[in-house]
Symmetry: C2
């Protein structure tokens, strides 16, 4: 049975970060649902509008991983959403994977305690929103337990491949890496 991912898009999401994740996960055979936070058509922070597959309300559950792109004000919208908070808390309770990049680790995961006592990264400067027990590191991708974080647009490909490696395995990640000419 194929693995299932959900990525949530809010107005002002960072387009490269979102699209890279969706594209790479689908290349790896992960069933990837693009959920719009409020709408089925969501505009990113650089004016690119992407169609969501579903609204978050009707996205269902039973995902192996949930992913949150950065971009402002996209990450702020995600962080303020009770629906997003409920999704993350359920995923965390079930020990499912939670992944966030750029502003999202700081604006979405940190405020509800997901980074507590964990190593994590985010867009440089935004670690001021981390709680004290979180160890900020500057690796491009940081995996600690069930949480994967990454720094920003330029690390989106490495972030996506790390997700594939965690969810499916190294062999598939390597195949996708080679097919996309990623380093």
């Amino acid at each position: 049975m194929s693995k299932k991912a959900i990525i949530v898009l809010a107005e002002g999401f960072e387009e490269i970060e979102a699209v890279t994740v969706i594209d790479i996960l689908r290349r790896a055979g992960i069933e990837t649902t693009v959920a719009g936070l409020d709408d089925l058509s969501v505009q990113g922070s650089h004016g690119i509008t992407v169609s969501a597959d579903v609204k978050l309300d009707t996205a269902g559950s039973d995902f192996d991983i949930c992913i949150f792109p950065g971009g402002m004000p996209g990450a702020t919208h995600l962080g303020c959403s009770e629906k997003v908070q409920a999704l993350i808390e359920t995923m965390n309770k079930d020990k499912k994977i939670i992944a966030a990049i750029c502003a999202a680790p700081a604006m979405v995961l940190a405020p509800i305690g997901i980074l507590k006592n964990k190593k994590a990264t985010c867009f440089p400067g935004m670690q001021k929103h981390f709680e004290e027990s979180t160890t900020y590191v500057t690796d491009n991708v940081v995996t600690d337990g069930n949480v994967i974080t990454s720094r920003g647009t330029g690390t989106a490909l490495a972030f996506s491949l790390a997700i594939v490696e965690k969810i499916i395995g190294e062999e598939t990640a390597d195949k996708v890496r080679k097919a996309t000419l990623a380093n």
Copy 2:
């Protein structure tokens, strides 16, 4: 006056390649028009639908650069389009910049002679569509005169930054490189 770019999307375009170019060029202040080949809503090769700003028919002219993403069958559709051919030929006559990545150098530029007597790159293997006078090189990004080519998804960020450097200059390209944490 800001520089003007047009990127053309056909059904089956490679999403990372297209979105990375649009995002990075807009970050650099280049006025970037997303033109749908036939429709205002275009689905990529990994099921991601992106909204175009205009249809190619009504996109106007007077662009400093035209850009063609890869992805199949997207690049084939672009290569078969008389509207695309007319756009490229006009741009080339006017010595404007023409840029293509992945399958697009081979499927869009080569067939109408744009790579004649030039160095160029493309997705590995697709250089069989280059004409004999074209020198195939394996650099991630190759600039020869008014033509910029690149290899594939994993080189989309470098391709986009090379476009910014060519159109605007090194300083702006460096600023965007730093802001996106690109290497």
